[in-house]
């Protein structure tokens, strides 16, 4: 078997349609001034936009039919995330989709009322991190009375979440605690200040809370692993979209800005990095849709794991580079808050940190590719 391995990309008519609809929706509902108007609001997104997304069925795409979902598989959400990334549209779709995947995979056939709630717009989120390390095992646990002990960091969209899936350890194995918002006193949720202002996350202190349900058993660990890979893929899809938009912004500027009597886009020192970004954006999209092709409702296999990790490693670095050069190439303008370059470079840093950075994934890819028997 070759190291390049599986190179399948399939794109169904349904996915093509979804991509079209999502891009059109984002153009109409999330033009840049609308996105910017939300940057410094407490909620961070427009509830009407979220409602419209729910009505389009985006929260239900990958959920099972028994819970009111469309059962199109986790890869089918990818075009939506790419379109949202292009528009820099926040909203809790990422947190909610991943929480739905985790619940469905860790406890198949159970908690369908929660999934049904999610399908119709209830926000859900995974509380996984306890520090900055994506590779750390959870320390959160239950005390003798069955109450949680621990504090979770950077919990996405905690400010609006109706459901929390808290990752903990029970008898040294990973487990999940399902909580409803009502179980958490508002003082337990302390909003974080994020570099990407289109995002919201908080520290959530769960100590003393009794879970609504405890999910244990052999399905939890693989479900967590698969959802981390899907998280990497979805964030990569958003990043691929953001990087493409960032490139367009930079190219527009290079075509209109004159210095020393010349359009600055005629200088090779700016042209060639722009081409490099284009090629990296191309690679990002290719990896992302390759990943979307290989992930399914079942456990992710080796090829799918490689695809998700490569997508994240690629798209993360692409957006970091595109954002970095966007600021630089806009000159003095690029140093202002008014210039969109700041949105991209800030998003890039957030993206880098979500579901493992490029080094995290390449380290694991090395094992998968070079140590295979």
């Amino acid at each position: 078997m070759s190291l390049t391995g599986n190179t399948r990309i399939a794109f169904s008519e349904e996915q093509a349609m979804l991509l079209d609809v999502a891009r059109e929706f984002c153009r109409a509902k999330a033009p840049r001034e609308i996105v910017r108007a939300q940057l410094e609001t407490p909620r961070g997104y427009d509830p009407d936009t979220w409602q419209a997304m729910v009505e389009l069925g985006w929260t239900a795409i990958a959920l099972p039919e028994s819970a009111g979902g469309s059962a199109l598989g986790p890869g089918s959400v990818v075009p939506v995330f790419e379109a949202m990334g292009r528009a820099m549209l926040g909203t809790p779709l990422l947190s909610t989709t991943l929480a739905g995947q985790l619940l469905g995979r860790a406890a198949p056939g159970m908690h369908e009322e929660v999934l049904a709630d999610i399908a119709t717009g209830a926000v859900a989120t995974i509380a996984a991190l306890e520090g900055g390390d994506w590779g750390a095992a959870p320390q959160c646990h239950l005390d003798d009375d069955g109450r949680l002990v621990g504090s979770k960091r950077l919990v996405g969209d905690a400010h609006v979440a109706a459901y929390f899936l808290v990752v903990l350890a029970v008898e040294e194995a990973p487990a999940l605690a399902l909580l409803r918002r009502e179980q958490l006193d508002p003082s337990r949720i302390r909003e974080s200040e994020l570099i990407d202002q289109t995002r919201r996350a908080a520290t959530v202190d769960v100590t003393g809370v009794e879970p609504l349900a405890l999910i244990v058993g052999p399905a939890v660990a693989p479900a967590l692993r698969d959802v981390e890979l899907l998280g990497a893929l979805y964030v990569a899809a958003e990043a691929a979209g953001s990087a493409a938009a960032c490139l367009d912004t930079t190219v527009d500027y290079l075509k209109t800005r004159k210095q020393f009597g010349k359009l600055i886009g005629s200088y090779q020192a700016l042209k060639h990095p722009a081409v490099e970004i284009l090629c990296e954006v191309d690679s990002s999209r290719s990896f992302v849709y390759h990943g979307a092709t290989l992930v399914g409702d079942g456990a992710l296999d080796r090829d799918a794991e490689i695809a998700c990790r490569m997508a994240k490693a690629q798209a993360t670095e692409t957006l970091c580079y595109a954002g970095d050069r966007a600021v630089q190439f806009h000159g003095g303008m690029g140093f202002t808050y008014e210039c969109d370059a700041q949105l991209y470079i800030r998003r890039a840093q957030w993206v880098q940190q979500q579901y493992g950075d490029a080094q995290h994934h390449r380290k694991r890819l090395a094992g998968l590719l070079l140590d295979a028997a």
């Binding site: 190291l3 390049t4 391995g5 990309i9 290079l254 090779q268 081409v275 284009l278 990896f287 390759h290």
Partner: protein, 400 residues
Amino acid sequence: MTAPQNELDAFRADVSAWLRDNRPADPGFLLPQTFMEVGSDEQLDFLREWQYKVWSAGYLGLAWPKAYGGGGMDPAFQSVADQEMRRAGVPICFNVIGLGWAGPLINDIGTEEEKAKYLKGILSGEDIWCQGFSEPDHGSDLGNAQTRAVREGDEYVVNGTKIWTTMGNYAKYMILLVRTDPEAQRKYDGLSFFLAPMAVPGVETRPIRKLTGEYGFTETFFTDARIPAECLMGEEGDGWKIAMKTLQYERGAEAGAAGGLAFVRIVIDDLVAGLAGVRRDGAPVLEDPLLRDQLVRLVMEEKAIALGDRRAAIAPLATDYPLSLPLSHKLRWTEHTRRMRQFAINAQGADGARYVGDDDALAGGFWQRAYLNSFSATIGGGTSQVQANIIAEHVLGLPK
């Protein structure tokens, strides 16, 4: 005409078995990885014998007419043979200018006489072909070619210089682009195309020594060289049109090539296999965390190019800059190749300092030579920098 799958499968089994039994033994010297690297007589003799053997076995020129030495079969059979040769990792079929460019051209627009005279010798490897397009002062600007041909009776008298003539010193024929009418209103209309013999007085070749220390190209000088008028292809003034058609074969945009391997494909798996015995810090080099990271990056580069080829065929996923993937392929592949080969030297530790000819060099210095040769692809056919300009201007729409 579509070949039945069962016939193709049976044919594949035949080729595969034949290759297993007839794979040439290691000659004891490094073989060229591309047809542009044939630098010594022993390499030429070896490759010539191999091509003859492949053709005699019926695995070359399968889709060319039977009357001219071909197989008269569906092109699908040649594709199968090529795939099997690639899989088996056998040497190249070296007469690439003939097999891939001049041959299909003659097949498509040549006269019966031309077909009868040239095609069989191309397939057997008896008649080596070279190309006289580039000139020292006009590397990429083909339309500006200045080598002159003036008609005198039944002959044309040719004066000028061509460069980067692959196997110029071995070739019997050259596809030659010359200026017959310097007064033409459009510079392109003054060009003509010849199927020119090399063994005539006034044609001299001077081998160009490459940065590898080897040979493979020549500079070709024409000094009052007399070429029979019947060697003119088409009419006077058709040169540009025919040259462009030739380039379509060269770029694989038009079918018709005789087949065979034009180059040995070196992929990341070859590198990983090649490094199996190399150690660093007392442990296998493939366990070194920093080199592992670099290797993963290289695998990703290679895979991204393969995925891009797939995605380019899916219209809804290639909407934003539809020309981006096809136009950037050459830039990406050649630059990746260069980086990978540089890494291959780097990963060898102190032995990376050795070169071809050193008995202790890893794989006979294969990677060192391959790295130096990789520049033929990042420079030839439009440098990477020119490619980047083309992409910037034609894909991104940036100003000149």
